[in-house]
Symmetry: D2
Subunit: 350 residues, 4 copies
């Protein structure tokens, strides 16, 4: 109800802010007997760690996860899995610059309206740091999905308007942009340098795919698989759009172009992104999320103070200039959460 | 869990298929004392009735709603509101043509995979007819929102790739496309005629806005207002993409371009679509949904039978050639459901 | 959230009041392929029909159910099952006697406090008539449970302080009290006559059992099987207490007396009522509900009017003098709903 | 869904076992601006600490709570409150005695059936230690309720069959049984000594009351206030029965005796326990829970091993001989959780 939970059978509930003691969560509904240890989760967390490339902040966050329950002798017990990631590097800073100011593009003004108070040291629950708990939970989900032969892949397919291809086999971590298209990396490098020099920031598009998903996942009407995916991806801060399969392009095609024809053994195309009438078809699930540019920029911006005075603000400091690549494992985690939940719901049908 | 419910405090649960006795639903959580009668709901239902323009089927469905509970002396009592819409015009047809065939772009194959059975007479729960219950529930939500000064408007802003403007003041029902831009109507008319002649179908984009929404609606993390809207709109059959504010365009802008600057009394732009960090900012809420072309087309399509044989199918008959305009009140209803629910959740904070 | 839904995977949502057009509900999550028709539901509804014995009202309610969706060719399709039971015998009565008065023991005063309005013609949603929807949904649940070999039995085991035995094999409908103990029936007959003559009413205790329930149902912590049963039974109007196994008696035993010893093949006793640590043990599930006397009595009672004036009220008329036997199928239905839901949740574990 | 969450708007989700690193939880939906620090929670936790009387284990558990999020400058921020209580005193014991045995009256056999595995070192999630998280969450709820003038009191009113009075003003911690009736304490003392000597254990009854609860809390039909309380109390391990107001006694009274008459300014009695038709009436809320004797006893018991062999087991060691008094703050916490949640739901009505 308060929005800290996601999922029904496989459910994650999270807590934590960027400037408190730490962050964590509880994963419920994970079947028993799944191999799990902290390393598996850590590996995913490390993919969203800062300080890994030219688009990233130089802040150090080691993000060491600790499992607090639900594991016995290296396997899940079937009961609630608690996990915790302490905050580090919370240097005692001077917050006077932002304490009484609503940063443009941030949740400062809306949190203030909602709660009457806000933790001005970071974004509170709206901080991107909140996503560590998503990644941790998603790592657990991915371990379960693996036991069913289901795997996921996420790549950045557009940065600052420059497109890149999706490649299921590429190592996206041989470059600092989670890019699967080596020819595009130098163009992105050049763009990132320019934008950083200008004190500005960049958006992009991330594509997430899931392979070997059985047909039949997703519920009719309100809990369609695509509706759940849209909710999951749009719930990640900075995401402003979500599409499935050919998405917005479908709006411009004729039915004869957009329909995926079927032959013995499968489909001739996958415009639908693996989902028909809200239910998985057995084809690869394909979703894309539009990520807005980081709102914290090292340029003067027009805004107002808590008291309503008009002022200029320049948010320099240790910020990423794009949520990419750090958002990539987050979006993959969200898709994993949806699929695991929908898989278990469908399995209840017997 | 089974996906027939939407919302938490203001919650709708629906039932019904295109070829059963009828459809309906239950609205829970509507505050007491709201003026409500069948006419208010009927007026919204009439907007999605078929047979209203060149893009629509000629099927007759009078869609007369009956309120079964929750109203006393013309006002809501605060308890569950049951409503029912009987099916009509179910002429005893010959279904042998589609009984054993999976129609491309439809849920036939996925429902079969999910349930092992399916009602081959229509799409069952995947039928577009399911949306009558959404519209009825959304009409009740809109009555509540009105008491808070909140109003909604939806227009078709693109059909078959041809864009149209959004106009809050236009009468979108003076043309058969829910179009607010009179100059574009003749172009759409021409396109629709061509496409119908070719036995093909069209997609488009619908924009929905909500005015006078107070700041503070939406929950942090998973139940962000935009996540709930994405879920709501994507749960409507035929929708393949959702965006908030400038949406996918945001991915191509710099932070300095995308951030909405603030001055005394408000914002200088609304790229964010009225939502910051998942919480309403007090600006107009703006969302868009990409609608795929109707998959039932009067052309030969390659598909397979239930038994796996490859065959051709031509789905002539009384079909719409676009989900537009009939989907327009459905998407508006979904936004109304989200806002009412989020409004009541926020009000619980006191 | 508004309390009209029960269950998670197997979920029922209901609507309707005693003096509106009718009552009904929606059952979600019923697996596909289960034999179901209106007769199966009607048979259960007939067990709670009024006018069946000396303790019952002479009101006529035929309670004819109609299935509106979710069934195709005599089997469930796996999608939402809508059902409807129109009200009858709503004679245009004079409500002036109770319109402005809070009846003692009724929800008049609390509904007024909660909603600011109330439908004074009946109890609105607090009317016992609301339970028809529970019985209908429970009948569907029992059809599913049968396919798993699980059966239920409910008997009245105490009326007005006079105990009766539980007998799984007895025909409880060969007497007007749902009593499985023929020797007690004459004593209850005598008591009922006396009490009716005095214009008073009676309470009692109902025991519900479920046979052949597999071990493993129920979730740790908050969704223990006994917690769900307690919630289910206590949610029925007039129930003031619930116990599992030997219940309150357990509070007076020593551990050595209360523990159920185990031997090869099973347990030596069933004090636990088939539930250990919130999870079914494979033994028979045993629950009891304490039912208060009907508050509407044909005697002068001290109360206040809506305006706060002290007055006397005598509620003669066509009332039951005990919720027994009509509450018996309702409580059985509630246990069936819990077990079906918990069964499906457990099955999701694979 | 997996039962680790309780509540809708004010929701707690917990994790942790007796033999893992620690236990904790997440409280969602607590309004902002409530004074809260670790001391307030610690004070409640200390009431369930072991080692406090003749009926308690001598195990040392300091149960120090740490708040991990949701608090800023001594007040709640309105976002998720994470808390953690590390386990201590987990001496490296020899578990070979119980590793392969199903302890009578425990969840060993049912957890095994449910999950296929179990953590044999303690009861896993069925351990009474799980209740620390309930107490912590309940302490937060009680802080909120206090701001509304609502207070709670719980007493043990029966131990081993010997009754004691309830007294709202008594200091129940001046004796080791949470007893409000000083004359009964010596009798309980004597009984406890005898039972301990015999290696046996005791059950009892706890009564919980809430004062100054406004009329109007609770939802019709399935989420009646009493249904939610029944669920809450029965979800605590060892509870086998729950009653509201005069509870099971109501089943033996006539309507004329059981109805609470009303006069100007209130009711003449409170048989209903403050709840009419599932909604609070403004009177004191009264609930009782029957607590079974601790199943771990220092006497030979007949049971079976994991492999199905019949064996004797004697569970000596550091066990409580009654869940009383340690269960008393747990049950009070559960009532606080229900009331806070229902209060916030009702407040959403405006």
């Amino acid at each position: 109800m308060s929005g800290d939970s996601f999922g029904r059978i496989f459910k994650v509930t999270t807590f934590g802010e960027s400037h408190g003691p730490g962050l964590g969560g509880i994963v419920e509904g994970c079947p028993s007997g799944i191999d799990l240890d902290e390393d598996v989760i850590q590996k995913e967390l490390d993919k969203r760690k800062p300080g890994q490339g030219p688009a990233s902040t130089k802040r150090k966050e080691s993000d060491k996860v600790r499992i607090l329950s639900g594991i016995f002798e290296g396997k899940t017990t079937g009961t609630a899995i608690g996990f915790y990631i302490p905050n580090e590097d919370q240097r005692s800073r001077d917050y006077s610059r932002i304490k009484d100011v609503f940063r443009p593009g941030h949740g400062d003004i809306t949190y203030n309206a909602k709660y009457g108070v806000r933790d001005y040291r970071g974004g509170g629950r709206s901080s991107g740091r909140e996503t560590v708990s998503r990644v941790a939970a998603g790592a657990i989900a991915q371990e379960f999905l693996k036991t069913q032969g289901i795997t996921l892949k996420a790549c950045c397919v557009e940065l600052g308007g420059i497109r890149a291809g999706f490649n299921a086999d590429a190592d996206i971590y041989d470059n600092p942009y989670a890019c699967a298209d080596p020819e595009v990396v130098p163009q992105w490098d050049k763009l990132v340098k320019e934008v950083r020099k200008n004190g500005d920031s960049l958006g992009g598009i991330v594509e997430v795919r899931a392979y070997n998903v059985p047909a039949g996942l997703g519920e009719p009407v309100f809990d369609k698989l695509d509706a759940r995916i849209a909710c999951a991806l749009m719930s990640v801060g900075a995401v402003k759009g979500v599409e499935i399969g050919n998405g917005f392009e479908a709006a411009r095609l004729r039915g004869s172009e957009n329909n995926d024809s079927m032959v013995k053994g499968g489909f001739l195309s996958n415009n639908a992104g693996g989902i028909l009438a809200g239910i998985s078809s057995g084809q690869t699930i394909i979703a894309r999320a539009a990520v807005k540019p980081i709102p914290s920029i090292a340029r003067d911006q027009q805004t107002v103070s808590v008291n309503g005075e008009e002022i200029k603000i320049n948010i320099g400091g240790r910020h990423d200039i794009s949520a990419i690549p750090r958002i990539v494992p987050v979006l993959k985690a969200m898709l994993a959460l949806v699929l695991t939940d929908m898989f278990l719901i469908q399995r209840s049908r017997g």
